[in-house]
Subunit: 298 residues, 2 copies
Amino acid sequence: MNETGRPQELPMSNPRADRVRDVAKLAGRPARLKRGRFLAEGPQAVREALVLHRERTRAGEPGVVHEVYASESCLDRLPELAELADGVTLRLANDEVLAAMADTVNPQGIVAVCSFVDVSLDSVLDAGPRLIAVMCQVRDPGNAGTVLRAADAAGADAVVLTASSVDIYNPKAVRSTAGSLFHLPVVLGADIEELVELCKDRGMGILAADGYGTLNLDKLQDENAARRMGASAARSDYALEGPTAWLFGNEAQGLSESELALADHRVAVPVYGSAESLNLGTAATVCLYASARSQQAS
Amino acid sequence: MNETGRPQELPMSNPRADRVRDVAKLAGRPARLKRGRFLAEGPQAVREALVLHRERTRAGEPGVVHEVYASESCLDRLPELAELADGVTLRLANDEVLAAMADTVNPQGIVAVCSFVDVSLDSVLDAGPRLIAVMCQVRDPGNAGTVLRAADAAGADAVVLTASSVDIYNPKAVRSTAGSLFHLPVVLGADIEELVELCKDRGMGILAADGYGTLNLDKLQDENAARRMGASAARSDYALEGPTAWLFGNEAQGLSESELALADHRVAVPVYGSAESLNLGTAATVCLYASARSQQAS
């Protein structure tokens, strides 16, 4: 390493080298499960991974990033990445090697091998969360990533994926999170019944996003606004400013009857036009933002 | 045709037939532009196309659907589709033929060849719109379709794509709209300067969705709620209940400086967590729903 944190050896140039194949195998679930590692691709994801790595190691916790592979031109363009990678193995590689490692055709010159970042449900609940997004049997990696990113933007305290959901470490899911995977606690493989019970024990309300729901999200938002402004003492069906876990269902079938039965209320996102329904990412965004606004303002 | 509207000839079975190739070519832009037609795939899109076709032909206007190709099992499963197709050429085809025609691996047993459905900017503006979603140089077909679907759900009066945006008739874009392409007027290839001028002439406000915007969407919503409840006479920077055209930028770069300069205000969607930004579909959803709620309630 020189003083800029830039490695000095020659760039890796053999796309068929064992080390390259080992990294590429992380595109598949068996290799990820076996090694407990996954791949972050592109400057944004790698930056966020390195920031979390630094936070954790400074706090004396295990790190997140094992190795970073980058092209010289990428480090020239984004020198802060080499600085952030201080203390992490950083190897130079040419574009052909990076393309062979990555799931995308164009990894934008940088990839990082990361440890799984998911945490236990207990650790999430012990922190006293106010807003949790729960994905129930969501199957599409892009959808899962989009919901996770929306949850991050809405300031959710955690995201939970139930058992038989898509693997959030799937490269497409990781890409769709746009770095948010490294921003907030994620719990994987949760049992939905256990999760709901534990949330209820801690005083959280459980809302199911359901196109056929009887509670209207607009009404809940209006009631919240009225309370904030002292304009009304109307009895509310549900106080949106309270701690809430939202359940979001599978993109094709929505929540199952047994999942719906676990919720305190089934809440419909209003459809003002003639769309038959909202896609999962859109519906989750509207619900999480409604909670976030109510919680922030109250 | 028999009395159920079901064709009686043998199903098409040669995936290399000229007619099959002609339909398949609609996956490409040159064939679409040359023939002014595109492909709707799957029961949901075909149903919505047929509903619009029936509305238009009953009103004495040109229809939308030229031909429908379906498998026998699809029509058995969804007999209402054959009824809806009354007056439209409906041909039976086996799964191999349908797969060869469609862009998706699995078109779920039905595809329709449709005429372009876009309308002129004048016809949209003459109808006195209250809410328009404008996509400026949006390039990804899935994003464009998602924004169109969100605009439909929010009850927008029209969607506009500016010149050098993605082709909304791209099969992936059509799929992402989930039928909403047939629900509300869509204008293509608009000149952004002309569009903004015409909207302003008609008294519409122009809001640019911009992560660096100085107006906060939450504040605008709160001011709207306060006015509705008579709780405040606070001066508002912008009345969200007024007729509005929202400008949404390219997914990678956002709106350009020249596009931003055309807007009355640059509005930021609040990010409560540590996400760097929202993806296009998420941001558009939050903005359009904020306007829709304000307009509906006022």
